[in-house]
């Protein structure tokens, strides 16, 4: 066993905070992590203060209405450069949309930096990345924070099935994976509008990604037929207020903008057979039944066990750990807290010292947690900073989320970026934070005498701080 205290705070957390009590032995470290499972707060103040999905949806609706009004004024002609000619209110709404994303990213960061349950926060980030949405799509950018805060956080200590259902039914996911464009080919709506130029049809995107990424895993035996059938079962899911075209009029009365709703007239009628099991047409309940079965499937257990084990050990996770987690998952029916307990009490994540390379997010959060003064000014653009570091918040390039291997993050340009940022931040606070005193606190048993000496020999206090945060140990978890 090596660097137990460092691993407890970094592999299982987001880095030590100045003044955190020392954790001397493995057993205490494990007990501390177990306690975090109970103490986790799903809605701490910075998150609770953010706008609700309804307000987010209303901003989008306003923006669309302003755009429609502009086009009407222009006689229906599309303007060559819409942004250059947009009205002041429209520009303000666009800014409000940008702010939704920026404020959510800032809140995520604030919570991560201050959290007394960083292991639980790490799990939130893990699941948020597992159920990745991406702000590449304009509609998603305002909802991405709400997805993590409203769908992931409340279920992160519960059952995988509930987490899965909440994550995929959230407006952000329905918008990101095109579910709002998917209609049953034999649905009442499709039959009624069939004569239109191009009839609405099935979109398989969400169904495929749930099978490939969120549950069973790629090449786990499902077929194209399963994907199509599952996509059929999912039809009818829509987001109130954010649809396009005729389907907008079908939103059930009384739903608020931004609500996930089931529109029966869009649903593909009839039974669906998925992975050999028949699901009668029970409307909205049909897809939910499929999701609940997928959530406890042995392939899902293996897929989740492998990803979780990798996140807490190494690129090629030790097979005994994967097997143990998968068995726990199956036995408990996907009880996530049980899974985490098994993980904490397993020997594998505690071996071999810090080997995983921190992602830019992990690294930057751990740096901010380790400083006795705020790393960033009040008006610092957190989202922009993470973009610069190469891991923009909620903006992976694909629904697979950000990669979780050493090679994903250990690049030469990225390393220089970190050094420059560490240097810049240290330059701002170098005389208020003593790296010589911080190093043993933050690196704990991962601090080598050589490193301590190198930091003490730094040219300036700021240089010492930059060396601490760019040190081989601190870059890893």
């Amino acid at each position: 066993m090596s660097a137990t205290r460092y691993l407890a705070a970094n592999r299982f957390g987001l880095g030590r905070r100045v003044g955190d009590p020392d954790v001397p032995a493995l057993r205490d470290a494990q007990a501390g992590l177990l306690r975090q499972l109970e103490a986790f707060d799903p809605a701490p103040p910075p998150i609770a203060a953010l706008p609700r999905p309804e307000a987010i949806a209303e901003t989008y609706i306003l923006f669309r209405e302003q755009g429609d009004a502009m086009r009407r004024e222009a006689g229906g002609m599309p303007t060559a450069n819409a942004r250059a000619t947009e009205s002041t209110p429209q520009r303000e709404t666009r800014q409000a949309l940008n702010d939704l994303y920026a404020d959510a990213a800032t809140a995520r960061f604030a919570v991560a930096v201050a959290s007394p349950t960083p292991f639980a926060e790490r799990l939130v980030h893990f699941w948020s990345n597992h159920f990745a949405v991406s702000t590449e799509k304009q509609f998603v950018s305002g909802f991405a924070g709400a997805h993590e805060f409203g769908a992931i956080r409340p279920h992160v200590m519960g059952r995988f099935a509930d987490l899965l259902i909440a994550a995929v039914r959230h407006p952000a996911m329905l918008l990101y994976l095109d579910q709002i464009l998917s209609f049953g080919t034999d649905s009442a709506f499709a039959i009624r509008t069939r004569r239109a130029r191009s009839g609405p049809g099935l979109n398989e995107n969400l169904a495929r990604e749930i099978l490939e990424l969120h549950t069973l895993g790629v090449r786990s035996g499902y077929t194209q037929t399963d994907v199509t059938a599952f996509a059929g079962a999912l039809t009818g899911l829509a987001v109130a207020g954010l649809g396009r075209g005729a389907a907008r009029r079908l939103i059930p009365a009384g739903s608020r903008p931004g609500d996930t709703v089931f529109v029966a007239e869009l649903h593909q009628p009839g039974e669906q057979t998925i992975l050999g099991k028949r699901y009668p047409d029970t409307g909205a309940a049909q897809a939910e039944a499929v999701l609940r079965d997928l959530a406890v499937h042995p392939a899902t257990a293996r897929h989740i066990a492998t990803k979780l084990a990798r996140h807490f050990t190494a690129d090629d996770p030790p097979q005994p750990l994967v097997d143990r987690l998968a068995a726990d998952f199956l036995r408990s029916g996907g009880d996530l807290a049980s899974l985490y307990r098994t993980l904490i009490l397993s020997p594998e994540p505690w071996q071999d010292g810090p080997a995983m390379f921190k992602s830019p997010w992990d690294w930057f959060v751990s740096m901010a947690r380790g400083l006795p003064v705020p790393a960033l000014g009040e008006r610092q653009n957190v989202a922009g900073l993470l973009r610069q570091l190469g891991q923009p918040v909620w903006r992976p390039e694909s629904p697979a989320g950000y990669g979780d291997t050493v090679a994903t993050w250990a690049g030469s340009g990225g390393l220089m970026q970190r050094v420059e940022l560490a240097s810049r931040i240290a330059g701002g606070i170098g005389d208020r934070a003593d790296a010589r005193a911080l190093a043993p606190q933050l690196l704990a048993d991962a601090l080598t005498p050589d490193l301590a000496q190198a930091i003490a020999g730094a040219d300036t206090p700021a240089q010492g701080l930059a060396m601490l945060f760019a040190s081989p140990a601190f870059l890893r978890r």
Binding site: A410, M416, V419, R424, G427, I429, A458, D459, A466, M467
Partner: protein, 372 residues
Amino acid sequence: MILSRRAAIAAGIGAAALPALAFAAAPTHRRLIFVIQRGAADGLAIAAPTGDPAFAGARAALAAEAATGTRLDTLFTLHPAMEGAAALFAAREAHVVHAVATAYRDRSHFDGQNILEGGGTRPYGRADGWLNRMLSLLPEGERSALAVAPSVPLALRGALPVATYVPSRLPQADADLIARLSALYESDALLHPLWESAVRTQELAGDIGGNNGRNGADLGRLAASLMTPADGARVMMVETGGWDTHSNQHGRLAGQLRGLDQLVGALKTGLGPAWADTLVIVATEFGRTVAVNGSGGTDHGTGSAALLFGGDLARGGTVAADWPGLASTALLAGRDLKPTRSLERVIAGAVAHHYALDPVQVGRALYPELLA
């Protein structure tokens, strides 16, 4: 450039007006620049006491280099890399003060710089700096102060608002940090090749000594351009690093001093007629050992030299020193140049002369714990 410069300056002035002090200076166009040498610059190389009989023996290999510089007087020789400074010295626009030190007597850069900037008597004893306290002595319209740094350094921090300006052309990670990280990553199988590749692609232009000293000239030109306009900064702090010459001092320090020399030269050129009203103070946190160590460098010492430049110095063209001598019995703790002058007094005296203020009152304002 103009826009961001003006924005940077505007951000720092005009706000909090403090109660006017009774002995504030009369309105002038005077400008003051504090150049800090972080890392403990070797005063015995900057102004080498070649006339001290013990010098050549103590400095061994480094003594030969010193002898090729410009003689300042019977005792001291300016480092050969400082050709511009030698010309300024001849024109009575440079002044050297030797065997100086702050109140600090230990050997930690961190603590030493904290005292040099804060102006207190113990490390981390003050949250504001002497340069900010100095602003309160100036007429209200002349307090615009700027740090060429990513954030306000301690010397400029305090009650009066100041601005910072980071030239985006200068990379954030300086060559010295890069070199230290190279050593740190050397035995790391993952990081070593990554870092080698990152450094190869990085333009190493951050330190003043880089690019044969031209980086120093760039920094000086930039600083001058920020002080030249009518609404420009009147007080400025310029940070320089890379003075911690534990090994191979011969080449490294020459590069640093060439950069410093060009920095000062570019300041004079850039400020033009305003040079006549300008004072440049160059100081470091402490000095280096008299003896050369086993790797051709010097270790942390105590007494060092401070440099003053400007168009209206009290004692331009002279070296001020109560020289303690370099005989082994004269050294502090058997290894360091013994400081015989207080750097704080030197700074307070120079400031008082520059703004025509009462030296006692200036001392009290800048160094309330030391010169009260």
